[in-house]
């Protein structure tokens, strides 16, 4: 059994269900639109900002503000790609066709991740340029130091969020359970843990808190984060690796139910 056969099969699976199109387009639209809106608001607020806020004004990061919501659609995409197999019972046909479970899982992840990467990169680029257009005279340029890294990083961040969700869904199997944990975690809990002083030291090692560092060009004043932009993305990648490993081990061990 060649892995290329399985990759082709997984591509057929992913392109033949409607959820792929609507989750990914929602991620694109929400990320870009919300980024543009917040960029436009920031421009009009700039004059009334304190000096302190002006010093740490980060036009690049502001144009990615839509990702806080857009990533939720990416999570849904990642969860559904994997958990659909279980909720529909298709997993039995899939594993009977591809009994090598590692080949099955990693072909699926490869196809979904490649698609997520293309969409995320395009989204990140569009969010940046459209956001900067909204920022007017306060805008950053792609040639500025660290900006290109932040734009590429934004695409990688969204892709890793999707991949993390796939790993979690591979462990939990149920779409409802996976979404019920991931959505509130990334939308609320992680933000609270990463911003409240008491939990900040631990909270900033959470996958999204660490990973989003890569989209920052101007660090906030008094920033004492112990890792840099790539370090943060590395921490996020470790979380993703752990989720995928967990998913793989459980898939290998469990009966296909």
């Amino acid at each position: 059994m060649a892995a290329t056969q399985v990759v082709r099969s997984e591509w057929t699976k992913i392109r033949s269900v409607a959820s792929t199109v609507w989750t990914l387009s929602l991620a694109v639209v929400v990320t870009i639109a919300l980024g543009m809106l917040i960029s436009a608001l920031s421009r009009s607020e700039f004059d009334s900002m304190s000096t302190r806020d002006r010093l740490s004004f980060d036009p690049t990061f502001i144009s990615f503000a839509g990702m806080s919501l857009g990533q939720l659609a990416m999570i849904v995409f990642g969860v559904l790609v994997v958990s659909n197999e279980y909720s529909t019972g298709m997993i039995r046909a899939s594993l009977a066709a591809v009994p090598k479970r590692g080949t099955f899982l990693f072909s699926k992840l490869a196809v979904a991740t490649a698609l997520a990467l293309v969409v995320s990169m395009a989204t990140s680029l569009a969010a940046f340029f459209l956001g900067q257009a909204m920022l007017g005279e306060h805008k950053a340029s792609i040639g500025d130091e660290g900006v290109l890294r932040a734009v590429i990083g934004g695409g990688l961040y969204m892709t890793l969020i999707a991949l993390f969700s796939m790993g979690v869904a591979a462990m939990l199997r149920s779409p409802m359970l996976s979404l019920g944990i991931l959505m509130p975690f990334f939308f609320l809990i992680s933000n609270i843990l990463g911003n409240v002083d008491a939990t900040k030291k631990v909270g900033r090692f959470l996958p999204d808190q660490a990973g989003s560092k890569i989209m920052q060009v101007v660090p906030p004043l008094g920033d004492d984060t112990p890792y840099g932009p790539w370090g943060g993305l590395g921490i996020m990648a470790l979380w993703v690796a752990a989720a995928l490993l967990g998913g793989y081990v459980l898939l290998k061990r469990r009966d296909a139910q």
Binding site: M1, Q5, T88, A93, D255, A256
Partner: protein, 317 residues
């Protein structure tokens, strides 16, 4: 050929499949019979490598399932009707399975045609009836033109025409020299299709026999005789060299004799008969007898245990 060797599956304390050893041979339809919950589906899932056995081993043409190169071209299975993504079309469902095993897309059209789903090939599976879902499952089983086919309760949800179709299909697949393994909880269904029979109850092997042998051994024909002069009748029968055993209701059962002969014998001795009827034990009865002890959930027959009065325990305590 499918070979099971001491196959066992335990879920905690509960034994679902208990040390099954048997072989499913090519060229015939082998029926896999057992009451609901006997472990048929679990066994079939273990054959496909979906569930891991607690002990024992399954070989598909001598190879472990997960070592098969493109398994769909070797063994095709229908597990249940609705193992399909409801938003995916029948064509794409089969296409993704075909691609994973390097099967040509042309073959997808062939099997859709074979099961009569060509007209709805591009329709989403969520609109399919149970029967159509079953046909799609059978199409998936046939996809790789495999030498071995396995069907779990294939007639479930099919209309009479569909049932007839699948019986014919299974027989023709076996005639082509393929191994056909089909499960059912209905003896009557098996009697029509199977050449060989494997019966299990509570996960244990109860019978592994040819259908002909099973029928011969179990379809007992006897004569039921009832008389108010039971003792006299017994004597007369004994003198005539006929052995009678006590049946229910004070009746006597005589194996392998003609009712006419017993009637004439009784008339000669002027005995009154209240009943004289030839009986045929059905295969269904034979099956039920075989599995009686192993049926997990009995329907209660006879007088129910009188319910305990509320507070009885307290009074006694």
């Amino acid at each position: 050929m499918i070979e099971l060797e001491g196959l066992t599956k335990r879920y905690g304390e509960k034994v679902a499949v208990d040390d099954l050893t048997f072989t499913v041979r090519p060229g015939i339809v082998t029926g896999f019979l057992g009451p609901n919950g006997a472990g048929k589906s679990t066994t079939m899932r273990m054959i496909l490598g979906l569930d891991h056995p607690t002990a024992g081993d399954v070989r598909i043409d001598g190879t472990r399932y997960d070592r098969l190169e493109d398994p769909l071209t070797c063994i095709g299975a229908l597990l249940e009707a609705k193992g399909v993504h409801p938003g995916r079309s029948a064509y794409n469902h089969l296409l993704c399975l075909a691609q994973s095993n390097g099967i040509q897309p042309r073959r997808v059209h062939e099997v859709l045609d074979a099961v009569g789903l060509t007209a709805v090939a591009r329709k989403k599976a969520k609109g399919f009836s149970l029967g159509m879902g079953q046909r799609l499952g059978i199409a998936a089983a046939l996809l790789g033109d495999p030498r071995i086919l396995m069907f779990d309760e294939p007639v479930n949800g099919l209309d009479p025409e569909g049932i007839h179709w699948i019986r014919t299909l299974m027989k023709s697949l076996a005639t082509q020299g393929r191994t056909v393994f089909v499960s059912s909880h209905l003896m009557s269904e098996m009697a029509l299709t199977a050449d060989h029979l494997v019966v299990i109850g509570q996960g244990r092997l109860l019978a592994d026999t040819s259908m002909a042998e099973f029928i011969e051994r179990n379809s007992r024909s006897y004569v039921r005789v009832r008389s108010p002069q039971r003792e006299l009748l017994l004597d007369v029968l004994h003198q005539g060299g006929i052995t009678a055993v006590a049946g229910g209701d004070g009746a006597l059962e005589v194996d392998g004799s003609k009712a006419e002969y017993i009637g004439e014998l009784a008339a000669r001795h002027q005995l009154v008969l209240h009943e004289l009827s030839p009986q045929q034990a059905s295969l269904e009865e034979a099956f039920m007898q075989l599995t009686a002890e192993s049926v997990e959930y009995h329907a209660h027959t006879g007088t129910p245990v009188p319910p305990q009065q509320w507070g009885d325990g307290w009074k006694r305590g």
